[in-house]
Amino acid sequence: MNHPTSELIDFVDGALEPAARERVAAHVRSCPVCGPEVGRARAARDALRGLADVDPPPGLTESILDAVESGSGAAPRGRARTWSRWAAGAGVAAAILLGLAIALPQVRGSNGADTEAAGAESRSKDLSAATTVEVVAGDLGIDDLGALATGAAREAVDVGAPSPAYAAQDGVPVVDQVRAEPRVVDRALACLTTAFGTPDGTVIRLLEGTYEGTPAVLGVVVSGPGAGEPPDRAEVLVADRLDCSILVGHTVQF
């Protein structure tokens, strides 16, 4: 028996032309597979149609508008979903609205559209995956992560002259040594993946050093929203180099 599988949804929705509807209806009446399937699909659809809109919590509008006004980007609304927050030099009058938040690991799932997006816009640059590990001199802190993230943003998008927001983030950590051995690169990537999962987007830099005294591996990841949009996010992921657990993650929207 040939089942009109592709027509069943239109049949359930009543969207078939009369002749097709009669043909599918005749099949559904006699088919022990399609008959129950249509019944289940219709019951599920009816159950969902009974769901009403849900009113947003009080204060959501103000929370959104406050965040827009302060330029604080995707900072969360006060729930303990972040570890800390880095104020992004709020109020900087930049042509690009820059929001910076420290968040839980926000690496994205693999999505080929991001890669397409990287080359889709004329202002986007081609981004290359990191093939070296940069060993950083000195101990890193929160400001260094901000500098790395905004540097990545500048790398990802040709913004012309550096905006005041970027200029404020100068002071990128000093690189002491560059290691290109594949095992060193692989080990750094594996550690980040263990901590944060597979990064989505392009890992454009890998670094090693100490973060607030803890031996650390850092990855700088640039990604976009997909769907042909240009890159709009740089993340700095910091993992403990010894046990590959998460130390911190920073996200910049640009």
Binding site: V12, P57, G73
Partner: protein
């Protein structure tokens, strides 16, 4: 809430906002937040996460308003941004159990498996709870189609997939939801929704 006839259209508000009128953006937020929040609640199944996703969506929309070219309706574009915000949160939540897995050597209590959980929920008539058991890809299409009642063409633009893919996801999502709710087959009745929502 329907706007009165004299209210500016979404597209007019977008133009005003791009020109620097922040009140125009506030009007867009107030006009669309209930619908966007509802989409996020149904996709994410958690009101706190939905509020975060709604805020993320409007902030992203604000940042990218200048890129909105008006080729699609503003509501289509906004739904797309909101769905992406939901996917971000779903990805983030997916990673959390993995982190515990790799960091803890002790025997884990991973909670009920998906199958166990489905067993618990099976038979419930709570469609909202059962939605959480529908695979994400199908759930998103299902929410847009059957909760928000968007036409399939619009959903195709929101998700950037062919309309046939949308229909397939909706149909499979309905079957998954019926299973999660323990809904058996009913006697097929004549179609009750003539020519609505499809092309």
């Amino acid at each position: 809430v329907p706007d009165v006839a004299a209210s500016p259209s979404d597209e007019e508000l977008v133009r005003s906002c791009v020109a620097g009128d922040e009140q125009a953006f506030a009007t867009l937020v107030r006009r669309h937040q209930t619908r966007i929040y509802s989409v996020c609640v149904r996709i994410l199944g958690d009101e706190e996460d939905a509020a975060d996703a709604t805020q993320d969506a409007f902030l992203t929309a604000y940042r990218k308003l200048a890129q909105f070219r008006g080729e699609a309706a503003f509501t289509t574009w906004l739904h797309r941004v909101a769905v992406n915000a939901c996917y971000d949160i779903l990805r983030r939540k997916r990673r959390q159990p993995l982190l515990h897995t790799v960091r803890e050597d002790a025997p884990r209590d991973e909670g009920p498996s998906v199958e166990d959980h489905a067993e618990e929920v099976a038979g419930t008539h709570d469609a909202a709870a059962a939605l959480a058991l529908v695979p994400e890809e199908f759930r998103v299409a299902l929410v847009l189609a059957d909760v928000q009642d968007l036409p399939y063409e619009q959903i195709a633009r929101v998700l950037d997939v062919p309309i046939g893919t949308v229909k397939s996801r909706v149909h499979r999502g309905r079957l998954a939801l019926a299973k999660a709710m323990g809904l058996g087959a009913r006697e097929p009745a004549p179609p009750s929704r003539p020519s609505e929502g499809t092309a």
